[in-house]
Symmetry: C2
Subunit: 436 residues, 2 copies
């Protein structure tokens, strides 16, 4: 188990204590749920391992010399524990509206007319969206759905969220950057395009975690760091925030992120090198939609995107292969050097291709090479690139700094993720004043 | 495809038109969704068949001479289509609260303060409960969970429902029968036991459909008949009903039952003898929880239970085997007579067992025999029962009226279900006046 993860968690806890904010009681309840859900996940996963292997929901860990078969889709029980925890958590934010007998009082309670049903609806629709994605993710793990179909899964799962947004806020305007305001005004109403933006955000968050995958601990690891970043950001808003609306939005985010961090941490202990379980597409989808949900309903989607810098980079870097401008092998994960037991980046052979698509693809590669973001392994006549690393951040790291052991690679990517989060905070709290 | 099903459906449509009630517009929207969801399911299932078989989510139809392998768990895509339809339906009951631009108007709309967020929450929590059960049902189909665990699945899935009930109604009293009122009063507050009652109802509805299973078309067939019964009952309440509360409760039920009937009908066309797909535990759970949800949130759980008479009988009849008072083979489905291609009831060998449990079991069997509800195949000394039919309604029907073809058996059980529904209506609308 990566000590760095423990250290990071401790830092967050210490940070939480240090800021010394009198947090609302519900946050402590949520922290308790997070710990409980984490412990239950941690206890449950090893027990379910054989059930999954027997049901052939398993995979081969090809980056180990002995290629062990380990259970797949363990993000599924993780997500189920999370969902149960969230179900049970639902009444707590509304505890003030119940009397001593823990029942909604009907006449003599002055708060009765004010019961925030829209808040309840918000929590329900958020859980519904997350659960939809877990359902589709598990189906994907079992049925191995093609990319052309599954790329739309998050759009389906986001329907309850959008419907709730539509019935509840209906706010579709965005605040413009200072530089644009003289020309367009302070606000611009995006109308239906705002819903398109939300769908794109959900699709993006869900799939980018699934793309940055392939070595032990990387899916759960990056998700944990993003979750902790969101939690820190939320806690910053607890501090001397006079705006009740924004306070509640970040409370909402905390309620979802704390238990998520709890179960993710438990999953990570099993998935960390050498992995005893795989997390599966289920987990990646579950993590992605959970982030998207809190970003959208917590009204901090732009800040959220900042925490996805490595994922955005990985996505953009992958584009030439994802959209087939450059050949894309079935798997782009690194390969194991059987002698040194270290990972090397996997490579792709660039076949001469005179179509427009092929020429554009080659242009991309040359551009990446000029930026120092490509390692060339073989050149042909005129220095033409014939073989280079596959276009993922993992391969790039291995091309630059490898060969490395698998655990070392994961740690390095985690380090990049942490640095990106720090940079994101810098942008959000320092640079932002020049724009908004 | 069973013509009787078509006829039954037509009767319902004719009935709907005949009662000539000016139904609310949303009911017509719901009917449109039902038809659309049915068509999508009908188109989708055959396309997914190979995907499921390739992913080894398949089973052998052992009651056919050639024992074909056909896709299992097709209730999963059926339920997903249903859920998507329900997601998209969510805004319609609230359409009055939106302005021409289809957005919640913020100040000048007099209805704004009255937006029924609790109704929205009700729909969301109902969908959440149904979706939870689909998730667990699919997991059960894939992982083959043991009974001792899966018996509690519906309890888990009902959490969102109970939580919503708790935050919203909190009504835990029941009206007592006339005969008891002089002694106990008109109402009795069950308190926490009411929640226990709801959990039991969900567990009961969910598993009883799963127990009355094993031949082509029976799971979807019985569910369709129950759904149509609920729909007819709801329509009766649309008629000259001065009580706004009860009208809304039955509208709520219609919104969920109409699309359910639509997708179930589509599934049944594929699952009817000779089945091209199996429905899986996913479907049985999905159907059961959908009934339980509308029964609970529509406040007609007692009427609902009346529509489950064959299931209740089957459950009670199965109890000696389910609770191991009598030996219970792994499968209790009928067996195929390879010569006549007809079904015969399967049997169980009664081993001499002198434990209290064994003696009680034998007493049960003798009691059933006296009632004419047991066919004895082999007797030992002193007329002791050595072999009898397995204790399910399907085997009982086959023991009494068999051997029969599979499709004939399904039709007969469907006939029993229809007669039971008629009897239920008789109890609900005639006999009830002597009790309430």
């Amino acid at each position: 188990m990566g000590k760095s993860i423990w250290v990071a968690s401790l830092i967050v806890v210490a940070f939480g204590l240090a800021i010394n904010v009198p947090l609302p009681d519900t946050v402590y309840v949520s922290i308790s749920f997070a710990i409980l859900a984490g412990v239950v996940t941690w206890k449950t996963l090893p027990r379910l391992a054989m059930t999954f292997v027997n049901a052939r929901v398993s995979g081969v860990d090809v980056l180990k010399p002995d290629r062990p078969v380990i259970p797949e889709a363990m993000g599924f029980p993780t997500a189920v524990v999370y969902l149960i925890a969230m179900f049970c958590f639902i009444p707590f934010p509304f505890i003030d509206w119940f009397d001593g007998q823990a029942r909604l009082v009907h006449e003599d309670n002055p708060m009765i007319g004010t019961f925030p049903y829209h808040k309840l609806g918000q929590i329900l629709s958020a859980i519904l969206a997350i659960q939809s994605m877990v359902l589709l993710g598990f189906a994907d793990d079992i049925l191995d759905v093609r990319w052309r179909y599954k790329v739309w899964f998050p759009a389906v799962a986001s329907i309850p969220l959008l419907i709730f947004y539509y019935t509840n806020f209906g706010v579709t305007y965005v605040v413009l950057p200072l530089q644009l305001r003289p020309y367009v005004g302070d606000l611009v109403d995006l109308g239906p395009f705002y819903y398109l933006y939300m769908v794109m955000l959900v699709i993006f968050c869900t799939h980018t975690i699934n793309i940055l995958a392939g070595i032990n601990g990387i899916e759960a690891g990056q998700s944990l760091i993003i979750a902790l970043s969101v939690i820190i950001n939320d806690l910053l808003f607890m501090f001397n925030n006079p705006d009740r609306e924004s306070l509640e939005a970040h409370l909402f985010s905390l309620y979802f992120m704390l238990p998520f961090a709890g179960v993710t941490f438990a999953l990570l202990t099993q998935n960390w090198f050498p992995a005893r379980v795989f997390v599966g597409d289920t987990y990646c989808y579950f993590a992605g939609i959970t982030f998207a949900v809190v970003g959208i309903l917590g009204h901090f989607s732009k800040t959220l995107v900042l925490f996805f810098i490595p994922q955005i980079f990985n996505f953009l870097y992958s584009c030439p292969q994802l959209f087939r401008f450059v050949d894309c092998p079935r798997h782009r994960m690194p390969r194991l050097d059987s002698e040194t037991k270290k990972l090397r980046c996997s490579t792709v052979i660039i076949k001469p291709n005179n179509s427009i698509r092929g020429k554009l693809g080659y242009l991309f590669l040359k551009f990446l090479y000029l930026l120092g973001l490509l390692k060339v392994f073989k050149r042909g006549e005129n220095g033409r690139i014939l073989e280079c690393n596959n276009l993922t951040i993992i391969n790039l790291v291995l091309a630059r700094f490898g060969p490395m052991s698998e655990v070392h690679t994961t740690r390095m990517i985690m380090g990049i993720q942490v640095l990106s989060s720090l940079f994101a905070f810098f942008i959000r709290y320092k640079l932002v004043q020049y724009v908004y």
